[in-house]
């Protein structure tokens, strides 16, 4: 029989900072970390807005300065989040290195592309065309030899293993939030199946730089207006965020034996491949509905048991409506909906683990997560869909959806532990 999976530690590096009580407070007050983009070329995106993570909050959490030189920004944030999560759980000394595993999701390679621009500029021939010969003769000479370490999407996981002496099972998936949520599922399964006794699961991403804006603009996903407004009538795309979130998972019985702090139980997960939607955003509500149903079925829970849903909606005109339709078709009525994306931007591959972290924190502390209440909701969404009021009791089961980009659609169910 599969073992129960406990969340025993949380570490987040987010635009709202690193301490969960502080993050919660900002969220409850409706503060926003979304600001005008700060990169040097911001005039290319005159309305560009994003949510940056204040460096001073997390950079020093990774004491190995030599290793930090190899890291890109998202890997650095992941390493900091892992440090926080391990310290929070106290699990580091509880298990041997071979019985600890890491399961991470990472995003599109991009943050270091800016480093390539000078290499390119040194590689133009006399006519102004790019020249491989010039690249070989001049361009590569000016290239950071450590660039490969910053481009490889598996390195965040590897740095965590090096910093914290983790030698066990591991998986790293790329490039979208759904893939990052699959990594959380994989870590939970490793605990449930006994392949690991302690699993670090999570994701990291950073698209608050020029290339992030460029890529999402070219994909037609970036909000031209600069704001992320899930389910609002005038929503027009996502606002990039950045960050990392890492959770420590353990076998529930072991966690109880060692009197670990237990935030919640990961009690279910569902995944589907939406192979028939040609675009990156969700287009088939039936698929999303099935995913949520599967997550609940794992725990033999019914839709009525769900006390809230951390939505995936990132402000996409079609994708948000698709998720709303899926929720409306499964839940009658819909439970309170939650999202931090309006305030912290879309943290992309870090978004599912960040949402899961805040959900687990809410369950442990018997909190009502702030409910999504669009000011001017999409008129295609039925009236009464958004329940601004809280239920009489804090939630016992929460769902975390990762639907917004790519084919992998995932929903995670977590339950309060009494």
């Amino acid at each position: 029989m599969d073992r129960k999976v406990a969340v025993t530690g949380i570490g987040v590096v987010s635009p709202f900072g690193t301490d969960l009580p502080g993050i919660w407070k900002k969220w409850a007050l409706g503060e926003s970390a979304v600001r005008s983009a700060a990169f040097a070329e911001r005039e290319v995106f005159p309305h560009g807005r994003c949510a940056r993570t204040p460096d001073e909050n997390w950079a020093a959490l990774v004491p190995n300065r030599k290793l930090v030189k190899f890291m890109n920004r998202e890997a650095h944030m992941a390493a900091a989040a892992a440090a926080l999560a391990l310290a929070d759980s106290g699990a580091q000394e509880a298990y041997p290195p071979d019985r600890k595993g890491i399961y991470m999701g990472t995003g599109l390679t991009s943050s270091e592309i800016e480093e390539l621009i000078p290499v390119l500029e040194a590689s133009f021939g006399e006519s102004g065309e790019f020249s491989c010969r010039r690249l070989g003769e001049e361009g590569l000479a000016g290239c950071n030899p450590l660039l490969s370490f910053k481009l490889l999407p598996n390195m965040a996981l590897c740095y965590i293993s090096m910093l914290y002496g983790i030698h066990g099972d591991n998986l790293v998936f790329n490039p979208w939030p759904g893939n990052a949520a699959q990594a959380i599922m994989a870590g939970a399964r490793a605990i449930a199946w006994g392949e690991a006794d302690c699993a670090l699961v999570g994701g990291c991403d950073c698209k608050t730089h020029f290339i992030g804006f460029l890529t999402f603009s070219q994909m037609g996903l970036l909000a031209p207006s600069g704001g992320c407004r899930p389910f609002e009538r005038d929503r027009d795309g996502l606002a990039p965020g950045e960050g990392a979130a890492v959770l420590v998972l353990e076998d529930m019985a072991s966690a109880r034996r060692r009197q670990a702090p237990i935030y919640a139980e990961i009690c279910g997960s569902g995944e589907e491949t939406d192979n028939r939607s040609p675009a990156l955003y969700p287009q088939r509500p039936g698929v999303l509905r099935n995913v949520m149903k599967k997550a609940l079925a794992d725990d033999e829970a019914s839709p009525d048991d769900v006390g809230g849903i951390f939505c995936s909606a990132s402000g996409h005109p079609v994708g948000d409506l698709c998720e709303a339709e899926a929720i409306a078709s499964l839940f009658k009525p819909a439970p309170p909906l939650h999202s931090l994306k309006e305030f912290c931007g879309d943290m992309l591959a870090a978004a599912p683990s960040f949402a899961l972290s805040t959900a687990a924190y809410a369950l442990k502390n018997r909190l009502f997560p702030p409910a999504l209440c669009p000011r001017d909701p999409d008129p295609a969404i039925p009236r009464g869909f958004f329940r601004g009021e809280s239920r009489p009791e804090p939630p016992d089961i929460l769902l975390v959806n990762a639907f917004d980009l790519g084919q992998a659609k995932v929903s995670l169910a977590i339950r309060r532990v009494t």
Partner: protein, 422 residues
């Protein structure tokens, strides 16, 4: 737990495409390494690679018009291998949907098309901001996300089972296969097309690895470039290609009378947790992955009859891998044939583990183990039987294949000769 079998494969490599021609080239000790032709590498310090020749892009685009605008060559390698896999595993139209067939592909990283990045800069001088503004306005999408091949294949072939993109560097495709094995063994999937594809034979790929000092600069002199375990080895050679296998629950395979090529018996993964630049000099991560794979297969070191080594031809890897093999197999290590097919096909990075697993199938299906070619100078620190230069007849039961990734991710898989009864 359920038994997991290999029911087909698709392979695209520098020495051949398709199972039979690939096996024949392996048996002949063919080399796919030669001068780089994909771009002008004349001013690069490294000018040799193992390129796939004759990939008919036009016919692939005719078959997959949705890939027309894709600039990333490796996506086409995946599409070609997948078509071959569907035929080899005799997967009929309709089976993927009815069996909820999954997809689990390993690949290393996105490589930016430098020409595309620079195209707007034609007519310099322009300001950096103007350059970037033109990039924004030129249309298309600069990046090719690592799920591109998966998205195309899942849509085209109605693959609606779980789909994963594993990006564990050089261990990616071995890990994708191991992960798929676990999913099938535990009943979460009945059939998964898994493996990997990659091409780093491009200016940034070759240039980046060369800057790290990981590549051999031989090849144009009298010294072969890729010579795993040889005392004069001085680096690896980048290759390109794709290797995909259909892993299937034995019951599912029998029910549809699928060809059964071999059984996957075990999988182990580990982390070196050492340094970004080097493998753990004590080989603990490698050893741990191999031990776990044997334990997962329910066998001991005495059962392995051939080892397909990671064998990159870098000074450190080959010595440390040799030591790890000796630590695990003790006195028997010297009597087990160990070879590196990278000597023939180069290092396929994200596709390496899968193509090498397919090479192992030759042992069961053709009765030989592939050689390590270019082997001439014994290294006192690499003192195993590396099957030098000539393929060898073989009729063993179990094979171990190793993949050790950049950053310290390690994977090992155990293959077993398929027999009707356990």
């Amino acid at each position: 737990m359920r038994r997991v079998v290999v029911t087909g494969c698709g392979v695209v490599s520098a020495i051949g495409r398709g199972r039979e021609s690939f096996f024949t080239a392996l048996q002949n000790g063919a080399s796919g390494i030669g001068p780089i032709s994909h771009f002008d590498a004349s001013a690069f310090s490294v000018r040799q690679a193992a390129e796939v020749k004759g990939l008919e892009l036009d016919s692939l685009i005719a078959r997959y018009p949705e890939a027309e605008d894709i600039t990333d060559r490796k996506v086409f390698l995946a599409l070609a291998a997948f078509d071959d896999l569907m035929a080899d595993a005799r997967i009929p139209t309709g089976l993927p949907a009815s069996s909820r067939m999954g997809l689990n592909l390993g690949v290393s990283l996105e490589i930016l098309p430098l020409e595309r990045l620079s195209r707007p800069a034609t007519g310099l001088p322009i300001s950096r901001v103007e350059h970037l503004r033109r990039l924004k306005d030129m249309g298309g999408v600069l990046q090719t996300p690592l799920d591109t091949a998966s998205r195309i294949l899942a849509a085209r072939h109605d693959l609606c089972g779980p789909s994963y993109v594993n990006c564990s560097a050089c261990a990616a495709s071995a890990m994708a296969i191991g992960h798929s094995f676990e999913l099938i063994r535990r009943g979460l999937a009945d059939i998964v097309c898994c493996g990997g594809y990659d091409s780093m034979v491009n200016p940034l790929g070759i240039g980046g690895f060369a800057l790290l000092g990981a590549l051999s600069t031989n090849g144009e002199n009298d010294e072969p470039a890729c010579r795993p375990f040889d005392a004069r080895r001085n680096g690896t050679v980048i290759g390109e290609g794709a290797g995909l296998v259909a892993l299937e629950d034995l019951g599912h395979a029998r029910k549809r009378n699928a060809p059964i090529l071999a059984e996957i018996a075990g999988y182990g993964a580990s982390l070196d947790a050492y340094k970004p630049t080097d493998p753990d000099p004590d080989g603990r991560g490698m050893l741990s992955a191999m031990k776990k794979a044997l334990a997962s297969a329910g066998i001991g070191p005495g059962d392995i009859d051939y080892i397909n080594a990671h064998g990159t031809s870098t000074p450190k890897n080959d010595e440390i891998e040799t030591r790890a093999i000796k630590d695990l197999f003790g006195d028997r290590a010297g009597r087990i044939p160990v070879s590196s097919t990278k000597s023939m096909i180069g290092h396929l990075i994200g596709a390496a583990g899968a193509v090498e697993l397919i090479a192992c199938l030759a042992g069961f299906l053709r009765g030989f183990v592939p050689p390590t070619i270019n082997y001439a100078h014994p290294d006192p620190f690499c003192d195993l039987d590396y099957v030098p230069n000539q393929a060898r007849e073989w009729d063993g039961e179990y094979i171990l294949t190793n993949s050790f990734g950049f950053g310290g991710q390690n994977a090992a898989l155990v293959l077993k000769r398929y027999r009707e009864e356990p």
